[in-house]
Amino acid sequence: MMKKSRRSFLKVAGIAAIGLGAAPAMTFAASDSHGAAQAVKGKNQEALSAHRWGMVIDTSKLNEEVAKNITEACHRNHNVPDFNHEVDEEKYPNTRPTNPKQEIKWIWEEHFNYAFPDMEDEFLVEKFKHLGFPVTCNHCKNAPCVQACPTQATFKREDGIVLMDFHRCIGCRFCMAACPYGARSFNFRDPRPFIAETVPEFPTRSKGVVEKCNLCAERLAKGQMPHCVEASEGAIVVGDLEDPESEVRVLLNENYSIRRKQSLGTEPSVYYVV
């Protein structure tokens, strides 16, 4: 409760400073919690926590099948539409043809030259020439998308996860222009006709909002590891980057790793052990 009221106060003060006369009064009225004065909000007991969540991808454990399973597990469980899915004409009559350029993806494969365009090298080590590198949101420490968002619909959680608030997104796509990793997708249309099997544990999205990897925040809250970790057969490890004892830190200590476009200073939290 304490946190909540401080937040409200800062919000009100901020708005007042900008001088929107009516807004502070409205915010005051809205923050008056409805008879639930003693109600308490908290985390699930089993929730996993970290100072800064990060991901380490061990490229030696990757192969085509693993990479495919990773994408599959993530997309299926987050109700990410697949434009190749045949639409159920009965449920969704007159669905217009899709434009594959408007697809949505959270985690997918890229070849080295595309995943690391600033490290392009004609004499690249043979094993990387045909390997698919899983790429996704980097949950950057200095995330350009968070800075760009005009409504704070994209925001950085205290534990380092860069999240989308689909309720608040106005669909301006500033974050997509800001992201140096192409991690974001926009819902150019209603995704539902293209979801083969809707998973009830996660909402679908509406048209007109941006989406991306959420590091399975909904699973961490239940004490489970992200879907990609489970599907990766050990290739992906997720853990606390700030904890020197954590599995991710041990991996980073023992192996040389790279990050995507390090020179931009965004400080990605996704590491690739090479």
Partner: protein, 131 residues
């Protein structure tokens, strides 16, 4: 000439402005449907707030919940009455729809009557509809 026109215009305006009343005069007004408590909701008898508070304020509560879950990562709500709930509209046993199993009879009947169409269901799924 002008005077007549103005008076006629005013009369039309008044009639038009009061049209909801005329509409109600010629149609039968139905009493608001009561949300039906079915299955688990009927036996449990422990909602987040008491019945009247819930009726009046569930939308604000849901709004508060979504901010808490999405932005603060707090997902567990211990209500003033001591019961704990999973702050979720539709996922899991301990969510709204987990207890109020029938969305049509619990949510939609009232919303349709009040002519409100919350956009929750554009994204959140009704587990029953999926099956």
């Amino acid at each position: 000439m002008n005077k007549n026109l103005i008076i006629a215009g005013l009369a039309v305006f008044v009639i038009a402005v009061l049209s909801p009343f005329w509409f109600n005069l010629v149609t039968v007004t139905q009493a608001a449907p009561k949300p039906e408590l079915l299955g688990k909701a009927k036996t449990e008898k422990k909602c987040v707030l008491d019945k009247y508070d819930m009726r009046a304020n569930h939308m604000s509560l849901l709004d508060e919940w979504r901010v808490s879950v999405v932005r603060d990562a707090d997902r567990m709500y211990t209500a003033a009455n001591g019961h704990s709930f999973n702050m979720s509209l539709s996922t899991g046993e301990n969510s709204c729809l987990g207890c109020h199993e029938d969305k049509e009879k619990f949510c939609d009947s009232c919303h349709t009557y009040a002519s409100v169409s919350p956009y929750c269901w554009e994204c959140h799924t009704n587990p029953k509809e999926i099956q």
